[in-house]
Each structure stands twice: as C-alpha cells, then as structure tokens.
C-alpha cells in the first residue's frame, strides 16, 4: 500500500489524484441534487465561506493582523452589488462590471480602516476592527433616512442573479438530458472563483510580498529594520483581504437575491475567524478545511440534534443554533489550548508557536 502511493517514484499518481478530486468536485452538485436542492445551496454557502476564510487568511494568517470586523467588507461587497443590480435605484448593471467595483470599494474601505489603525499593536487592532464592523452594520441599518440608500433593516430585495448574454445563473435549465438548476450553476461559478483565489493565495504566499508579510508577522521591528515597508505592506494585506471579501459579498448578494444587515452581524465575523484559527492560520488547505468543517457542522447538527433530543427527552431542550455556537466557542478555546497552530498547521506557524514558549 505504502509502496503504491509513493508519489516520488510515480509522479503521475499526483495527477491521477488531482483528476479524481476534480471529477468528484464536478459531480458533487448532481449527487447532492439527488438528496435535495437545499444541499446544493448548503454546498454553495460552504464555498462562499471558503472564499471569506481565504480572504481573511491573508490578513490574519499571512500578515498576522487579527481582524474581527472582516464581515464588514463582505457587507460592502454585497451592498455594492445589491445597489447596482436591483430595483432599489433601478440600476441593473451586469455582474462582471459590478464585481470588480465591489472588490475595489471593499479594498478602499480596507485602506480607510487600515491607514489610521495599522500602527496599533495586534490586540488593539482586533478591537478597532471589531468596532469598525459594528459601525458599518449600524450605518447599513440606519441609512434609510433621510435619503433611502440601504432600505434599513428591511434590506434590499429583488437583486438580479448573474446573467451573461441571456444565460441566467438563476434559471432552471435542461442540458443534454441533465437537469441543471440555478444553484448548480452557481456551484460551478463559485468553484471556479474559489480555485482562482486558491491559486492567487498560493502564489502570494511564496512571493516577495508573502515573505515580507511573514517577516512582519514574525517580528515587525526586525522586519522594518530589514528595510521592509511595513505600513504599506500591512495596508496591502488589508486591501487584498477586503477585496476578496467584497467579491464573496457580491456573489452572496446575487445567489441570495435578498440582503439585509442581519446577515452581517458580529457573530459572522467571529465565525470566519474561527474557520481560519481552527483550520490553521496561514495554511491555505487548513483554512479551507476549517471553512468546510464549520459550514457543514451546523447542518449536521440541525439534522441530528433535534431528533436525538426529541427521542431522549420528548421535546427539544436546546436549539441546534445554541449548540453550534457553544461548540464554536469551545473549539476556539480548546484549539488555542491544545493545538494553537490549528488542525492543519502551516510549517512556519507551527515552528513559531512551539519555539515561542518563554
């Protein structure tokens, strides 16, 4: 067995592996659709979380800046898309125009937040970003008066799905005898975007910029002494992370067709932080694992907790939502206590945490 999987003597095995993973990812939505379209949607949201976690990983994992208000950038992207492609202002721009705008607006917000705060030490930065996230949410909630921009707590409805020359991602279609529903189309789009972002992340990590981020994370003063422009590089990390969040937000808006400030609460920020921390800060595959785990856990809980409780006690005592949050909190504490580098630690992070014990 060991012999068979020795990839060094059989390099083609790696490609076989890639092909298998690719094939299963390609067939997954159809398999899920057999169970129910809900599961395709769940898979889509999981990929959205992967996008978010990868974006936050640039900020937290690569550059070592704890951002507790990351969901604000997601919100900015989502609202940019919603305002430019909905009956709210009667604008209906195509998605390939809006998504870059959304990414740019989010990056701009990232710089606005970063510029004054990046000289702060890590823990202060965390709290300020948290405050920033709350400010964005309060504004979204209240910008319905005196001029109605965000429609307040009611949110924006009737957001356009992605459309390309009459090919709508929202519509149901029959293709070569296969039934292709809207969520399945979005699945492939999301998968493509996720792959793109993974590639960007991997290239970033090994680039000059990525190494500079690593140096800043390890020791900022030493990094500055070595001639690294720490301020601009930290700003770049913030802007890049934010723009990824903005793209994910735009896609969320289109898939959902409806957004309200409710979707961008503090808990969501913390959830994305959980994904990055649990999976392994700085390790792309770890972060993806964390995002997938934490997006599927609530669904699994929903399907198991209620029946189990009803069987045991005759009624539901604890809502699955509460159990989910308790598990998240516990996971954060336990991971930090017993596995501070995450489930799949990045090589550098692992070394750093093991040697740092004073």
């Amino acid at each position: 067995m060991q012999q068979f999987f020795d990839t060094r003597s059989k390099p083609w095995l790696v490609w076989v592996g890639f092909a298998l993973v690719g094939l299963s990812l390609a067939l997954l939505p159809f398999a899920l659709a057999q169970v129910g379209t809900t599961w395709v949607r769940i898979a889509n949201y999981a990929i959205l979380y992967v996008l978010l976690a990868l974006g936050l990983n640039i900020v937290v994992g690569f550059a070592g800046l704890l951002d507790l208000g990351y969901i604000a950038f997601y919100a900015v992207g989502a609202y940019t898309y919603a305002l430019l492609a909905s009956p709210q202002f009667n604008l209906h721009l195509p998605f390939w125009v809006i998504l870059p705008i959304g990414a740019a607006v989010a990056a701009f917000f990232g710089v606005i937040l970063g510029a004054p705060t990046l000289k702060l030490r890590g823990d202060y930065l965390a709290i300020v970003t948290l405050g920033f996230g709350e400010i964005v949410r309060i504004f979204l909630n209240n910008l319905s008066r005196p001029v109605n921009i965000t429609n307040g707590p009611q949110g924006i409805t009737g957001i356009d799905p992605f459309k390309l020359d009459g090919f709508s991602f929202g519509a149901y279609e029959s293709f070569l005898g296969l039934e292709v529903s809207g969520p399945i189309k979005y699945y492939y789009l999301l998968l493509a975007v996720a792959l793109g972002i993974i590639v960007v992340n991997m290239r970033l990590q090994n680039s000059r910029v990525g190494r500079a981020w690593e140096a800043i994370r390890e020791d900022e003063i030493a990094a500055r002494a070595m001639g690294i422009d720490t301020r601009n590089l930290k700003l770049l990390a913030f802007a890049m992370g934010a723009s990824f969040g903005g793209v994910a937000g735009g896609m969320f808006s289109a898939i959902q067709g409806f957004i309200s400030p409710e979707s961008f609460v503090l808990v969501e920020s913390i959830m994305v932080v959980c994904m990055v921390v649990l999976g392994g800060m700085g390790n792309i595959w770890g972060v993806i694992l964390g995002a997938l785990l934490l997006s599927f856990v609530p669904e699994i809980l929903r399907w198991t907790v209620t029946p189990v409780q009803e069987a045991l006690f005759g009624r539901m005592l604890v809502e699955p939502e509460v159990i989910r949050m308790l598990l998240f909190g516990l996971a954060l504490v336990l991971v930090m206590l017993y596995r501070p580098a995450g489930l799949l630690p990045s090589a550098v992070r692992k070394r750093e945490l093991e040697e740092h014990v004073v």
Partner: protein, 324 residues
C-alpha cells in the same frame, strides 16, 4: 440649556457604570496585558442572576431595598466564580503564549458564556420589577431620579474603595508589583498566580455590581447586553489609558458624557435645514436630519478609533515603546 443639563445628568449616570465596567478591563490588562474580551459577558451574567433573584423575591413582601441587595449579593459571588474559572481554565495556561492566542481564547469564552446564558434564561428580555419608588428631583431644569443618584453614589463608592485597595493595601501593592514585572514580583515572594486570579475575581465582582446597576437603570436585561456594554467599557478604558485605574474612571465618565451629549445634539447638528440649505424637505419648517440619535452606539467606537489614532496611550496613560 435644559437639554444640555439633562443629557449631562444622563451621561454621568451611564458613564459611571461604564467606568466600573472599564475598571475590570483595565485591571486585567494592567496586570497581564490581556484584553479580557469576556468581561462584558460577566457583567451580563451579573445582571441576569440579580434579576432572576429579584423577580423570585418580589412576592415574598420583603422591603424593596433588601430584595435588590440580596439580588446583588447573589450576583457578585457567582460572577467572581465565573471570573476565577475563566482565568484558571482559559487564560492561565496561555500566559506565555503569543499575544493573539489568549485573545482568541477570550472570544471563545465570551461566546460560551453568552450561549450558556441563552440556554438558562432564553432569548426573552427580563424586566426589572417596579419595586423601588423612583422620586424625581429638579435641579436647574434637569430631572434627576433617586435611582440615578443611587447609581452615582454606589459607583463613586466602588471606585473609591478600589483605589484604596490598590494603593493602600498589601494586596494592592502586590498587584502593582506584578503589573510592573511579574517575574521579579515572584522572586520577591509574591504569589503571582494568586494575585492575578484575585485581580480577575475583583474585576468580575465590580462587573456584577455594574451589571445590576445598568439593568436597574434601563429596566431590562438580556443575554446579548454584555457585548455592546463590554465594548463601550473597553473604549472607556482605552480612552483613559488602558492599565491605568484613575484613567478608566475618567474614561468611563467622559464616554458616558460624549454619548449622551452626542445623542442629544447630533440630530440638530446634522439637520441640513438648520444650516440654511434650500432643500424641498425644509419647506414649512421641516427638517432634513442626516444622522439622528439612532447612531448613539457609534460614538463609543468613534471615540475609540480617534483615541487610538491620536493618543494611543490614552488620556492618563504613559507612552510605552514597542518591545522586541
């Protein structure tokens, strides 16, 4: 002028409660440089426990003041236990870990506490029974209730006793020594672990009282109340200079005032009609308010960001250089 005085009174009351909560943040930060993210939840648990006890005791016919005292008397030890527990289980093992590790643990503890509270008390808002007869006094056009006076007095008393504890007792000396240099303090025979645990316990006890006061002032308590209150108190601690005890008191009161005056005047100040802009909405005495008092919760964060940008050491803090 009436609005001004009234908002001054309201701001002072809320601010003194912020100050007491901020003390919990600043003491812990001063001694182990940890932002105890879960402190707000301790305050919430204090309010919830006290409200439960008070609601249980109302039918017993005891005098109202005794009921409230018993409620607070139950809340304080429970919160102290929670404070001790989280220091022992979640923070102590990480005392020498990189800085972000205990902060992330603190977020985890905060989520756990909030949802345990949700399991115990459900999502419902708990109301404070109307048992204390509230008398209203008028001072120069501003109304001040007896509850407000009591809150101000209790907060002042707590701050004074804490100041005495920290600056005049052996325990306080040990705390200040540990804050300056834990290793050397240990070599001088101070039981550092005990001092740190006690700091958490005292902070949690103050938080419990603050929770009871806050709940009494606004008349309601809910499992989510800790998060925003905690953030505001943290902003207050930073405003005064984190780690600095008089700073936290000053910061809390100032933040309360900024918030109350801001909420009282922002509507007028951002009313474009008042500035003579020729808008349709202004015709016939209408107004065009850009930001109303519903932005009240933004002030704390704006203050926090402004302080961190322009005077990161806070009003009373000393500038500390980066250490490699």
């Amino acid at each position: 002028m009436d609005t001004f005085l009234q908002q001054l009174v309201n701001g002072l009351t809320a601010g003194s409660v912020y100050a007491v909560v901020a003390l919990g943040y600043t003491m812990v930060y001063g001694i182990i440089q940890l932002i105890n993210f879960a402190h707000g939840e301790v305050v919430m648990i204090g309010a919830m426990v006290a409200f439960t006890v008070i609601n249980l005791l109302v039918p017993s016919g005891l005098p109202p003041l005794a009921i409230v005292l018993i409620g607070a008397g139950c809340a304080v030890p429970i919160c102290m236990l929670v404070g001790y527990g989280m220091e022992r289980l979640a923070y102590r093992p990480l005392r020498h870990a990189p800085r972000l590790a205990p902060l992330i643990t603190a977020i985890g503890v905060s989520i756990i506490l909030q949802h345990v509270a949700l399991m115990i008390w459900s999502r419902n808002i708990m109301a404070f029974p109307q048992i204390i007869p509230s008398r209203t006094y008028f001072v120069g056009g501003a109304a001040i209730t007896s509850v407000q006076i009591a809150i101000l007095a209790i907060c002042l008393g707590l701050m004074a006793s804490l100041a005495i504890l920290v600056y005049r007792t052996p325990l306080g000396t040990a705390m200040r020594a540990t804050a300056q240099n834990a290793q050397v303090a240990g070599l001088m025979g101070i039981d550092v672990n005990r001092v740190i645990a006690l700091t958490f316990v005292i902070g949690a006890g103050l938080g419990a009282v603050a929770g009871v006061l806050f709940g009494t002032y606004y008349g309601i308590a809910q499992y989510t109340m800790g998060a925003v209150l905690g953030l505001k108190a943290f902003s207050a601690a930073v405003l005064g200079g984190i780690g600095n005890i008089p700073g936290a008191m000053l910061g809390g009161v100032l933040l309360g005032l900024v918030e109350a005056l801001g909420a009282g005047y922002i509507g007028d100040l951002t009313d474009l009609c008042r500035w003579g802009l020729p808008l349709d909405a202004c015709a016939g005495g209408g107004n065009f308010i850009l930001f109303g008092s519903n932005y009240q919760d933004v002030f704390a964060f704006v203050v926090l960001i402004l302080v961190l940008v322009f005077r990161p050491q806070g009003l009373l803090g000393e500038r500390v250089g980066d250490r490699a």
